[in-house]
Amino acid sequence: MSENDKFYVERCLDGHPDDFRYLVRRYQAALLANLAGKLGDKDRAEEAAQETLVRAYFNMGKLRKPDAFFSWLLGIADLVAKEQYRKEQLQRRRQIVRSFSEEAPPTELSQDYALETAIAELPEAYRKIILLRYYGGHSCNQIAEQLDMPLGTVTKTLSRAYAMLRDALRQQEQASSL
């Protein structure tokens, strides 16, 4: 499980599909956090994360830089989330026409929906690092290595990301207390 992404990507492409599970293990939490923030509920996030991973598996041949697997995965996730969102909007519109039924409260992935939303709204460069750090279990050094950037840049990016998260959370709190 200590091999890098490139290793597993190449194993999959060499006809060892089972090794994809290591990539799933490595990134599922990051993916879920990212999608939960975007979609706002646990079931939807899980569904989208699964779809993202399956899509990634079948499109692995198109991944030019196996090192960039995670960024690529996030790109797919964004696409899946967008598709799902559009689909749901359509369904909701039909539902509204059909009835005034109450909307069931979304089951949240965790208590901290506010945090997840704030993460989901971060620009990609920042989001990626937060996801890797807290949901992918990477240390700053590992992130530096994986994203091929100096450690100083990682901490600077993190610092900026924290500031943005704090702002976003503060705004949310203000909005909800109004």
Partner: protein, 432 residues
């Protein structure tokens, strides 16, 4: 250290990335600067919040779900890809104009295999299930070679003594068969060509419209040789299974327990031939012109010398030769029979194509191959005893018997050897 410097290092500090001296300087600054300390507290607070949430999220496990879905989709994709290649292959074969006739021979072989079956006698009644089968004038169903639903699917429309088939591996070919007059009309919907084929002879004597065959199966089932095996789930439906065993055949019918509508029929005829029928529809409102024997407008009738008369042992020996020499590069195939011949047909066409011979010669090879197989299929249908031992034998090897059978009304057996010589052999001297 001033506040700006402190803020710059704060994340590295919280992350534990600073060396001891840096750490100490920073800690000292924090002690004396409440603003920076507040900033640091807020940062650790946020960090803890992230860690907590990270742990919660990590409890969800997608691994099995993802891996299972991949396996499922992989299978679907593989099947679709195999089908696409098969269709493409066939299409390429059919589109190559000089080889159209050999492909026509292939199609006819398939048609022959599917209609030349006459397994049962007839008798009494199992009223409910068979009522629609016996009385429907129009029957639509799908026929699949083999019983595992992976074979070539033939979509069949039977109206009276006429039928129309489309095979899934040759979607652009349509065959219309007039069983009263033993004639087949083959239509190539891409090339817009039509061809008439005479199927008299052995076939003329014994060909059956498919529904007639189904009726015979049903008759067989009334015979007291039927066993009811109770309720099962088949093709996603509840069904009652009946199994009928004849001398040379075994038939399984799954019928709807409430409406008696047949859901699926599987038949095993002789040693090598099995097929499945499903998606039955009775007396659907369809246009009878679908089974018209006239050449449709816009189609050019091709002159042809394709005729499938009586097939002899000599024809069969010739198809064995073609099988070994052309398809097998000098080695006899692992299995023989209509099913394996069909799966080898694309190879034959490709090899013949590569031989750079004339269209006439190519067609001749295709026809000979098909005709010899008819001999074998007839033997199967009549319940004849045969044995094939040619797997891996080299063409020309006179020491190895590859096939033997007992002709009807004969006391001795005919044995075909690897060099394709044939001898009469008494039963006690047969190869073991």
């Amino acid at each position: 250290m001033n506040c700006t410097e402190c803020k710059e290092l704060l994340v590295a500090y919280v992350e534990g990335l600073l060396d001891d001296s840096q750490k100490q300087t920073l800690a000292e600054h924090l002690k004396n600067c409440p603003a920076c300390q507040a900033e640091a507290d807020e940062l650790t607070g946020l960090q803890e919040r992230l860690v907590r949430n990270g742990k919660t999220v990590a409890q969800s496990d997608l691994e099995n779900g993802v891996m299972n879905q991949i396996v499922r989709e992989q299978n679907i994709r593989l099947k679709a890809a195999a089908k696409a290649t098969e269709a493409l292959k066939t299409r390429r074969i059919l589109m190559k104009s000089p080889m159209t006739k050999i492909a026509a021979a292939a199609v006819i072989l398939i048609a022959v295999v599917l209609i030349g079956i006459n397994p049962f006698g007839s008798s009494v009644t199992w009223a409910q299930v068979i009522e629609p089968i016996l009385n429907a004038k129009i029957v639509i169903f799908d026929m699949i070679l083999g019983t595992d639903d992976t074979g070539v699917v033939s979509h069949e429309i039977v109206i009276g003594s006429r039928m129309r088939k489309t095979m899934s591996n040759m979607p652009n070919m349509t065959m219309i068969i007039d069983t009263d007059n033993a004639k087949l009309l083959g239509l190539d919907n891409d090339a817009k060509t039509a061809v008439y084929v005479d199927i008299t002879g052995d076939l003329g004597d014994r060909h059956r419209s498919y529904i007639k065959f189904v009726r015979q199966i049903i008759h067989q089932l009334q015979d007291g040789q039927v066993e009811e095996l109770g309720e099962q789930t088949i093709d996603g439906q509840k069904a009652i299974l009946f199994v009928g065993k004849g001398q040379n055949e075994e038939v399984r019918i799954w019928a709807d327990p409430e409406t008696a509508h047949p859901i699926r029929i599987e038949a095993q005829i002789g040693q090598e031939f099995s097929f499945t029928m499903k998606n039955f529809e009775f007396n659907a409102a369809i246009d009878e012109s679908l089974v018209s024997m006239n050449v449709p407008e816009g189609f050019t009738l091709q002159k042809t010398d394709i005729a499938l008369g009586n097939a002899s042992e000599e024809d069969f020996v010739e198809s064995l030769r073609i099988w070994a020499e052309i398809i097998g590069d000098g080695t006899f195939p692992a299995v023989i029979g209509s099913q394996s011949a069909m799966s080898d047909m694309p190879t034959l066409v490709q090899k013949v194509d590569a031989m750079q011979i004339t269209e006439e010669q190519g067609t001749q090879i295709g026809m000979s191959f098909a005709r010899g197989l008819m001999f074998h299929q007839m033997m199967e249908n009549q319940g004849g005893q045969w044995h094939y031992a040619g797997a891996g034998v080299k063409l020309g090897d006179a020491s190895k018997p590859i096939f033997w059978y007992q002709p009807q009304n004969a006391t001795t057996y005919r044995v075909i050897y690897g060099d394709l010589s044939v001898k009469d052999v008494a039963a006690e001297n047969l190869p073991k």
